[in-house]
């Protein structure tokens, strides 16, 4: 039998490619749920928010009558909006700076060998697994004006007389919001950083040991620079969680005292839902977009340059 005949015989016995073997169909089938999800739950609400921001829609009158830039002008003329914008940036920057420091330190500790490491890892992750509203309510009690356990400890140590009234004074209220944000984001960031840390080849550590690098030098000159891109990813998640969150402020302070802790997300809610002016609420929320886009673009660009993503 000639080679051609043999080849023809093999080809005739090969099963025909079915639809299930189509890579194109697999790609479409695999991507469709994600695309539908994004269009339905991100794209559509986003377009609706933009339309609302250029309309005079209220909670009682959902018709979208176009009013041009009038709604945005009203939003920008409101001093509380500017305070909310400043607070949003301030909370995000400070809490994420703290997150980077604490998450890196935590990751360094959790990658070492010690007894009950699994238990410590579990405890570290707990804040992340707790629903944010429940966790914030527990903080609300922890920061209670009269019976705060923090105050009690400070009183026992002789560092405090009376009560701090954490949520009733602007600076302390700001600090409280930052603490809760940091507390809740650190576990996720720590896990991300820890994964990056474990991915560093052991040869590099061995080489640095042979070269006589100590802990500080190895940490700051080798490990952290190598982990910078993955820390960037952790920051990206942290920023998005901080900027878009309204639960912490809503539960802890409702934006008070005197709107000192108001953020864009909470102010959009109070203006749009509790105040009834959906257009201004949507207009306020719209200002989250450039902040998020800019931050995401910066971090993703940074990560791409360092060839992580």
């Amino acid at each position: 039998m000639s080679d051609e005949a043999l080849a023809a015989g093999v080809a005739s016995r090969r099963p025909r490619r079915s639809l299930l073997d189509s890579e194109r169909l697999l790609a479409v089938g695999g991507l469709t749920p994600a695309v539908v999800y994004i269009v339905a739950l991100v794209g559509f609400p986003f377009v609706l928010a933009v339309l609302m921001a250029f309309s005079d829609v209220t909670v009682g009158d959902p018709s979208l009558d176009f009013v041009g830039l009038e709604t945005l002008r009203q939003v920008l003329e409101d001093p509380v909006f500017w305070r909310a914008l400043r607070n949003t940036l301030f909370f995000t920057v400070v809490s994420n700076a703290l997150v980077v420091i604490l998450a890196t330190a935590l990751a360094l500790i959790l990658t070492k060998d010690f007894k009950f490491k699994w238990l410590i890892r579990l405890l570290v992750l707990l804040p992340w697994t707790t629903p944010v509203s429940l966790a914030t309510i527990s903080w609300l009690w922890t920061l209670d004006t009269i019976f705060s356990p923090i105050d009690w400890v400070l009183r026992q140590l002789g560092l405090l007389e009376g009560n701090m009234i954490w949520l009733g004074q602007p600076r302390l209220a700001l600090a409280s919001v930052i603490i809760v944000h940091t507390w809740r984001i650190v576990p996720l960031a720590a896990v991300i950083v820890m994964a990056g840390m474990l991915a560093i080849p052991t040869e590099i550590r061995d080489a640095s040991d042979i070269d006589g690098a100590g802990f500080w030098r190895r940490t700051f000159e080798i490990e952290i620079p190598l982990m910078a891109p993955i820390i960037g990813v952790a920051v990206l998640f942290g920023v998005i969680l901080s900027v878009t969150d309204m639960t912490v402020v809503h539960v802890l302070t409702r934006g008070g005292p005197t709107n000192y802790t108001q953020v864009l997300a909470s102010w959009a809610f109070y203006k749009g839902i509790e105040g009834g002016d959906l257009a201004q609420g949507a207009g306020t929320a719209l200002f989250l977009l450039p902040v998020l886009v800019a931050v995401a673009a910066l971090i993703l660009r940074f990560a791409r340059r360092t060839e992580v993503l």
Binding site: T58, G60, P62, G162, N163
Partner: protein, 480 residues
Amino acid sequence: MTYDPREFTGLRRRDFLRYLVMAGLAACGGRAGVDTTGGPGTTAGSGPSTTIGAPDIKFEEPTVPLSGELRILLWSHFVPAHDEWFDPFVQQWGQEVGVDVTVDHITVAEIPARISAEISAGEGHDLIQYIAPLSQFEPSVVDMKDVTEEASRRWGEQVAICQRSSYNPNTDKYYAYCPGWVPDPGNYRRSLWETAGLPDGPTTWDELLEYGSKIYSEQGVQMGIGMSQEIDSNMAGRALLWSFGASIQDENENVVINSEETIRAVEYMRDLFEGAMTDEVFAWEAASNNEGLIAGQLSYILNSISAYRTSQEANPEVAADTFFSAALEGPADRMVATHVMYNWIIPNHAQNVDAAKEFLLHYTLNYEAACWHSQLYDFPAWDSLVPKLGDWVADDPFGSQPSDKLAVLSDAINWSTNVGHPGPANPATGQIFGESIIPVMFAEAARGEKTPEQAVADAEAKIQAIYADWRQRGLVGGDS
């Protein structure tokens, strides 16, 4: 001044947490341990009873044949016994008239957002209740003029503050049906005020300042008039404004907030804060003054009787020491806002409008039972519906000692008014309420962030912008 409140009360953290949980459950509509199986007069252990002595349920045939489903959304009542009565009451009516009724209770804070979502979606409940005027939803709700007029035909004239909290004179539309309201008396701890030399509590704002400051400095117990972004602070701020002759709008819905009277009221609040309160009043949420009173940490609050009812169960000692005062006399008036103003709306998307309206008439017919089962928390919009109300508050069937402790509520209608007074409750007043502009105005001056004049001027700028916005939509009158 700083002090350790435990020195004065001996309250332990464990006790506080217990009271906090119970107050929170009560405020959120939980059962809070209320037992409805005991007899009237029972307090410690079993809690006030709402079963024995309760009025009989009345029934009248609907004016039109009913069928289908009826979906009702309402708050989880601050007095949980009310909901224990209400749910079977609704089901019983549904069986009588052939309507399949569903009742959903959610916490009060979630209701405005839920209404917004349902109206935007164009579907949801047929009948929705809230505890404040819902004028902002006017374009999307059914006119309740017919059911209100029918109720007035049956039971007489509706209480004026209820009418002003459900009717828009600019559009001649009843955007809501208002069958009842809740008074907002002063709650004070008699032992503290007795020691200060005023055993019957304050009757004027001047006394509140003088003796409240004395109690704080000598007995270490602060006062609880909130200046936070929540409902009770909003109510308290308005009471103070009206008592000083100030208001947000006049009777024709013109903005008049920036006045000498408002500035005097703001100065008074600043003095009251400096003399008798701590920074905690800037951080409060709706249940905070309840919790503070129940825990024995506050000398005076402006609230309904719900905190007292909860303390009867949670802290009988404090309940025995809690007494009530009418609205405080100010330089110009003696007036407080209603603590709750019930508004029932039927969204345009409702599938069973007839059943919703007939149910409202049936519910109103039985308002005596609603008042009873709310342990005298709910007051009627038609006085003839609860003829025994005067007797009940004069001799509380729910275990008050002395039994006439609530007698001060008998003329509460004379010193209570609606949000928006002296004008109607309208979407602008609703938005000002929602954004807590009045408590923030008081707080800015009290904290020394702004002078009273500046705080009032800034509040006026925000308020004028809101009025201009709603006037463009034709829902608010006035021109300045």
